[in-house]
């Protein structure tokens, strides 16, 4: 089977998740590459989620929430904006193309925008190719599997 981009999307409960739902109920076509995870607010989007998604095999990560000024929690999306901008720099430092992380604003009424953004982003990631993080970091000496360390 040909490779298809795997994209993990973190969607805020109040705007984008509802907007994505609208795209579905309106029968607007959007790519099946997106794996949606609903969070209450993009402000809840811990950057840990982003590195974990990439480390576990995602080719792209999409974060989408309410437009600036519309946040249900006043400024969660502003925090998400700053996190994503800094995470892009961190990812670039790890050798991951910063375009593999994208932030969009999609309101509950913007099902068409959701379909357009996800189509665009899927094509961007398709062009960048498979990330294959676990394969990419393994050198000749990686004889042992990394183990999770309890803290």
């Amino acid at each position: 089977m040909a490779w298809e981009p795997k994209i993990v999307a973190f969607l805020c409960n109040w705007c984008t998740y509802t907007g994505a739902d609208l795209a579905g109920t309106s029968r607007i076509k959007s790519p099946p590459n997106i794996r949606s995870i609903r969070i209450m607010c993009t402000g809840r989007m811990d950057p840990t989620f982003i590195v974990k998604a990439f480390a576990l095999g995602a080719d792209g990560v999409l974060v989408s929430g309410c437009h600036p000024g519309d946040c249900h929690y006043v400024e969660g999306n502003h925090k998400a904006l700053r996190r994503v901008l800094l995470m892009k720099r961190v990812l670039a430092g790890f050798g991951v193309d910063a375009d593999r992380l994208r932030l969009t604003w999609v309101s509950a009424a913007e099902g068409e925008d959701w379909a357009r953004y996800t189509t665009e982003f899927t094509e961007t990631v398709r062009r960048l190719g498979p990330l294959n993080w676990s394969g990419r970091i393994s050198g000749e000496e990686m004889l042992t599997e990394p183990q999770e360390v309890a803290s």
Binding site: D46, P47, T48, I50, V51, K52, F54, A55, P68, E75, H78, K79, A80, L81, R82, R83, L85, L86, M87, R89, V90, G93, F94, G95, V96, W133, R136, I137, S138, G139, E140, E141, M142, T144, P146, Q147, V149, A150, S151
Partner: protein, 331 residues
């Protein structure tokens, strides 16, 4: 042999600071001597690997293992000491999270060899010689350990019972850990749960920091040489990149009290997995702008995000290392 419990301490890829932190417990070192037979401790006495190999499995009561796993010899010693020890402690940041040696994971073995043996300004190597793991001489073959492309933590190579963070662990904390071990051995009390972090708290460096915190509104990051920090205010409030919010407490906040930003040597706090990502979260919350261009201008002040936010924890981080370039892959 006196029938006392036995203690070993070994260094892998490390600087020796962890040994100093143990020796720095001052007169308590006599208590250590009274409680244990020291059976392997290359920094302070002449023991050989074959002495350890000759021991029965589980013969060492406690091994404090410091240093990251970077060479075939480091791995061999980690596996050997795991087998010979009842309790194996990852002592110090290198064994716990990779520490400074782990920053080699930002590059590759090929690039390191190229710089050290060819490019560095102080290198004089006209024949382009590089170390070989095996050299044949008339008398026989001489071998040295091979250097790995990726630095690993002790816990990524063998099962570890306990972790003691810090670069190095503070001596008062080191003594508390040893004192607790002696107490357990004498009283027969149960051991702490396996995998526990000892000699540290579970909150953050900020919880120990006496500096005054206000609502943070950062409009510019400054590097340490660009500012003389105020003596009472939070360093991060002053725009100095202090990793206190994403670093485990237990050190007594010594650096920040002295006006030096926390660099993160105690690793991620309890419950957190990835120190750098946690620090991204903290920084994003305090940057005072909602305009993408302005935010980017402020972020330009963080010169080396991976090297700064993962200075001590890169090998242990979720991403573990910087991607290996195809050109650096070796067959």
């Amino acid at each position: 042999m006196t029938g006392k419990p036995t203690l070993a301490m070994y260094w892998a890829a490390s600087c020796g600071g962890c040994e100093i932190s143990i020796l720095d417990i001052e007169e308590h070192i006599l208590d250590v001597d009274a409680a244990f037979d020291i059976v392997f401790f290359p920094c302070i006495a002449d023991f050989k690997t074959k002495d350890v190999e000759a021991m029965e499995d589980g013969a060492i009561t406690v091994t404090l293992f410091n240093g990251a796993i970077r060479t075939s010899e480091n791995e061999h010693m980690a596996k050997l000491l795991r087998r010979k020890s009842k309790v194996l402690v990852a002592y110090g940041s290198c064994a716990h999270e990779g520490c400074i040696p782990g920053l080699a994971n930002t590059t590759s073995r090929a690039a390191i060899f190229d710089f050290v043996y060819r490019q560095s300004p102080s290198t004089d190597n006209p024949e382009g010689l590089t170390p070989q793991t095996e050299t044949r001489m008339p008398e026989g073959a001489i071998t040295i350990p091979s250097l790995w492309n990726t630095v690993k933590t002790l816990g990524q190579v063998v099962d570890v019972d306990y972790f003691v963070p810090g670069c190095p662990p503070q001596s008062d904390q080191a003594w508390k850990v040893i004192e607790a071990v002696i107490d357990i051995l004498k009283s027969g009390k149960p051991l702490p749960p396996r995998g526990a972090v000892l000699g540290a708290g579970s909150k953050t460096c900020c919880d120990e920091c006496p500096r005054e915190r206000r609502e943070k509104r950062i409009t510019r990051f400054v590097r340490p040489h660009e500012i003389i920090p105020g003596s009472h205010e939070c360093l991060l409030d002053q725009g100095i990149l202090c990793l206190g919010p994403a670093t485990r407490d237990g050190c007594g906040a010594k650096c920040v009290i002295a006006g030096v930003p926390c660099r993160g040597c105690y690793g991620a706090p309890g419950g957190a997995r990835d120190q750098g990502a946690k620090m991204v979260s903290a920084l994003a919350s305090v940057i005072d702008s909602e305009d993408p261009a302005e935010i980017d201008r402020i972020l330009d002040g963080i010169v080396d995000p991976v090297g700064t936010l993962y200075r001590f924890s890169l090998a242990h981080s979720t991403m573990q290392r910087v991607a290996v370039a195809d050109s650096d892959r070796e067959a």
